[in-house]
Symmetry: C2
Subunit: 96 residues, 2 copies
Amino acid sequence: MFEELDPLLHSQLRLAIMSVLISVESADFNYLLERTGATRGNLSVQISKLNDAGYIQVIKSFRNKMPLTTCRIAPKGVEAFEKYVTALKSYLTRQA
Amino acid sequence: MFEELDPLLHSQLRLAIMSVLISVESADFNYLLERTGATRGNLSVQISKLNDAGYIQVIKSFRNKMPLTTCRIAPKGVEAFEKYVTALKSYLTRQA
DNA sequence: ATAAATAAGTTTATTTGATAAACTATAATT
DNA sequence: AATTATAGTTTATCAAATAAACTTATTTAT
């Protein structure tokens, strides 16, 4: 049987966000915008969802008097990402 | 940048259907039901969508006077599946 | 003979989710 | 003091996944 795919990760944009975050120490809003090609609104929403799930940590501060949103992957997020990758493999490898 | 994920394949059930079909010569409705764990309604809808897209071929016949729906992957479906797998990899491998 | 149960799907309705458009707040520029 | 730019958030819309309800035909039981 196929393993369940975590619906929070089985979304193109959220997966892209997580994919970026798993490879860097931290990433700010604009960097994620650029890397994912998302719109600001969509990015904002999906960051919130990942944060609510405890998959990422979001730190809001100021840089040059401007708001700065910094994201960092959380242990729970790493775990979920790895589990998702494993689950996906059950769909991708062709077994008879 | 991340590659686009074919929305037709980036769906748990449709991906499961395609995953089964890519590994067998053909599969009937009940076999797909069993393998995917889907409900009949949901399976019916998703088979239709894959058929409409030309990803699979659906043959309706009768066995023991009962309707029999047989599915087979189409060349276009194999192509799309392979492209999807390649695209997915851009999300799963952690590059800095 | 007819009523109930089973089989194999399909259609419709609901609910969720992704996305963009519109909005907010602050800062810098003209 | 308007206008433009920056960095987001909130709201509205549209699509899509899913299950519930329905259909049609077939056995089986009464």
